[in-house]
Amino acid sequence: MAEPLLKIDGLTRRFDVSKPWLNRVIEREEKQFLTANADVSFEIARGETFALVGESGSGKSTIAKMVVGLLPPSAGTITFDGQRIDTSAGIPRSLRRRFQMIFQDPFASLNPRWRVGEIIAEPIRTFGLMNPTDARKEAARLLEVVGLSAGDVNKFPHEFSGGQRQRIAIARALSSKPEFIVCDEPTSALDVSVQAQILNLMRDLQDEFGLTYLLISHDLSVVRHMANRIGVLYLGRLVEVAQGKKLFTEPQHPYTRMLLDAVPDLALSGRRRRPVEGEIPNPISPPPGCAFHPRCPLVHDRCRHEVPQPQPTPIGQAACHALDRVDTA
């Protein structure tokens, strides 16, 4: 395998969710930490789409924020294009131009007081890539690239629908000519017919500009449609990483199986869904050992006190003590 574009190693993030100091003293409580991500490692090759899926609270967005430098990790390293990013000092400008982010809510991610042209040209201006006249022209060109009209540069975001705004957000992300785009739930605020337009657009742009995507989503069918490789998160840990479509035909980890079983499907296979027992536990006090063990059908003694390490599987890797027993379940 060639040198990966992005390499994440042992990424961990803890949030301090303690009560204020005085309350702690009076109520004699310890400090409390929420571990949003624990020891997450993966690589993304150039030109591929790597997706992270998981339920709410599984730490998907925290990873996205750490990757783009909006949040410093508590431990672990991020290496972009062979260059290790010193997370304490922030990401150097030269690297920062090369990655961009598309956010979930296009109603919150565009400044309502700026014209669309200014919004799109902002990264160009920030990185000093072009003179103002060219930047304006570039903004108009990018609007056409994402399927809007060049004349829209003088409009304000409120004049556009949700899907059109997400196109503007994509145009802004493209304007600094990045190689890598983090897409955090890019379509979950949109209706399905608009979602299809945005997903198709993202694919076309990937082919055209050779982009690499880190796609964060809770929607398994979107992920299946878009990703080359998929990582499944549960309570901040990566439980399984697998080749795109294989994950859906040969899931290895019991949690992945459970998640796939739970997805309502259009195919009308007539299968009776196996409803999953229980819910995601509180991340402040996760269960010891494998975090999934209270809900796992294959749980045995070892799972209750030993955290499973990722092991290779036929389709990628998975962290489970019962891997060899999955098939018999």
């Binding site: 337009q197 739970a262 999953v276």
Partner: protein, 331 residues
């Protein structure tokens, strides 16, 4: 065929605004049979929730029902006085809202809320109401219901809260339950549990369900029939399997194709160009005509009504009108 439990005919809901009246629902008609699960789908703004709110009499003024009628077992309920409507709401029609956090009162325990509701609609003692409430909570899958009934809503997780809301909707044994996006605020693993509970418990009690959602997957697995709304108008009604596999309306076809599934092979999703028109700019003729690749002359001038090209299916599209279809330019 049996008489429908709920019959909606030519329902019009309008919202007067400073810039003219908006028609949120425009002559919507459908039936729900006793014990049936009817899925109501559409994109945001299509009028799904307004339909539910109109049936249960919860349209917020200045919005109003401007035409048509709603009948529950043959009896008109759209023009009832508020006190008469209150006897139906909760008693004969139960409602499950999207967000379980806002549909429970945070200041009362679950027991207080359930007992109040039961005693409002059913003549019984407090002790008996409590017994019913515990049994109901147990049925919707709340562990240790006896103990947890005295907890406040914030003690419950999102999925558990939605179970409480379902119990609340069902406690007066209604004939119809309107579930407005009951699982949208929940994660997939919990979503399947809730749908299962809702489906089983309604089947058990013979209650019909009107399931409002934008998630076709949920409809596919739960509903008997599905109604597709577009821009406040009914586009298509039919048995769920047929609508999904061989939709008649071009909008439904596009909608189904645009949903990524867990089994599809193609690399590109079907894409409907454009977006749903705003309520103040609905085009003349068929509301879908600017986005439809099969639109022909009558689509731009006359609005199609629901036609029934096959038994049990209805579609509002000129392509399926034998008289007009001869004018279709090509096959």
């Amino acid at each position: 065929m049996a008489d429908p439990l709920l019959s909606v005919r030519d329902l019009v809901v309008e919202f007067p605004t400073r810039r003219g009246t908006l028609r949120a629902l425009d002559r919507v008609s459908f039936d729900i049979m006793p014990g049936e699960v009817l899925g109501m789908v559409g994109e945001s703004g299509a009028g799904k929730s307004i339909t539910g709110a109109a049936i249960i009499g919860l349209i917020e003024p200045p919005g109003r029902i401007a035409g048509g009628e709603i009948r529950l077992k043959g009896e008109r309920i759209d023009n009832l006085r508020p006190y008469a409507l209150r006897k139906i709401r909760g008693k004969r029609i139960g409602m499950v809202f999207q967000d379980p956090l806002t549909s429970l009162n945070p200041l009362y325990t679950v027991a207080q809320q359930l007992i109040e509701t039961i005693r409002t609609h059913i003549d019984c003692s407090e002790a008996e109401a409590r017994k019913r409430a515990v049994a109901l909570l147990d049925r919707v899958g709340i562990p240790a219901a006896e103990r947890r009934i005295d907890d406040y809503p914030h003690h419950f997780s999102g999925g558990m809260r939605q179970r409480v809301v379902i119990a609340l909707a069902l406690c007066a044994e209604p004939e119809l339950v309107i579930a407005d996006e009951p699982t949208t605020a929940l994660d997939v693993s919990v979503q399947s549990q809730i749908i299962e509970v809702l489906k089983d418990i309604c089947a058990e009690r013979g209650a019909a369900v009107m399931l409002i959602t934008h998630d076709m997957g949920v409809i596919a697995e739960t509903a008997d029939r599905v109604a597709v709304l577009y821009a406040g108008r009914m586009a298509e009604v039919g048995p769920v399997r047929e609508v999904i596999t061989e939709a008649l309306h071009p909008y439904t076809q596009g909608l189904m194709g645009s949903i990524p599934t867990l089994t599809q092979e193609s690399d590109r999703l079907v894409q409907i160009p454009g977006s749903m028109p705003r309520l103040n700019a609905i085009p003349q003729g068929c509301a879908f005509n600017p986005r439809c690749d099969r639109a022909f002359a009558p689509c731009f001038t006359d609005r199609p009504d629901l036609l029934s090209p096959e038994a049990g299916r209805q579609v509002a599209c000129w392509l399926h009108d034998p008289a007009k279809a001869q004018e279709v330019p090509h096959g």
